[in-house]
């Protein structure tokens, strides 16, 4: 299935791209992360930062969150607004 993955702030700069469209068989966020790393070995240290947050369909969630067709997944560092 097709999944849209977004990156923000320092992570976006580290990976060098704001988003990727991915054909994936991942059923959960953690599997998707694993596939992203396999396809882009250079991304490994950045995507394995322990403080990274993720959102599915614009809701914060943990990496065990299930994925479905058309989901929008986002990874980003801890937020610093306000």
């Amino acid at each position: 299935m097709m999944i849209r993955v977004l990156f923000f702030a320092s992570l976006k700069e580290q990976l060098g791209t704001p988003n990727v469209e991915m054909e994936t068989t991942a059923s959960r966020v953690d599997e998707l992360l694993q596939q992203l790393i396999e396809q882009n070995p250079r991304w490994k240290p950045h995507l394995q930062q322990g403080t990274l947050l993720c959102a599915v369909n614009q809701q914060l969630c943990d990496t065990e969150h299930p994925l479905a067709v058309g989901d929008e997944v986002a990874f980003f560092p801890p937020v610093t607004g306000g």
Binding site: A9, A55, Q58, A74, F76, P78, V79, T80, G81, G82
Partner: protein, 154 residues
């Protein structure tokens, strides 16, 4: 009368005076609390400006969700949340949270709650720009502690 929640994410500046006038307009709420955050000088380097990135769509949803939760915890009138994005200068206004309520304790608690959750759950990121360099601001542990107390109280 339904109390309104106004959420605005914008590049342009905002007027605390106008926001306050809107909050006080409703004759039912005798207490109005406002919080405004400003771009201030850094301790260890000369700040020349700031860049604020956000996650369009999710930001509005997150702030709406936090506001809804505040309404479940306290008796509130109008809520206003404004957050600026893009390039900001020293002394610029960044964020505004305003709450009207019948009782001052509710207005104060909700304003603090909204700010604590905004700081830890709303997808904004600050990049500080000094004369020498620019860098992403690190999240503060104190903000994590601040938000945790609301869960403890639940």
């Amino acid at each position: 009368m339904a109390a309104t929640t106004t959420i605005r994410i914008q590049e342009q500046d905002f007027s605390v005076a106008d926001n306050y006038e809107q909050l006080r307009r409703s004759a039912a709420y005798g207490a109005v609390v406002t919080f405004t955050g400003l771009v201030r000088e850094l301790v260890d380097a000369q700040l020349s400006g700031m860049f604020l990135e956000h996650y369009p769509g999710m930001t509005e949803k997150a702030l709406q969700g936090i506001s809804n939760e505040a309404r479940q915890r306290w008796q509130l009138g109008p809520i206003q949340i404004i957050h600026r994005i893009g390039h900001l200068q020293l002394n610029d206004q960044i964020v505004f949270v305003g709450v009207a309520a019948k009782h001052r304790a509710d207005a104060f608690a909700a304003s603090m709650f909204l700010m604590d959750f905004l700081k830890t759950r709303a997808p904004f990121w600050k990049k500080e720009v000094t004369k020498e360099a620019s860098y992403w601001v690190e999240a503060k542990e104190s903000d994590q502690h601040a938000v945790q107390r609301w869960n403890d109280q639940k």
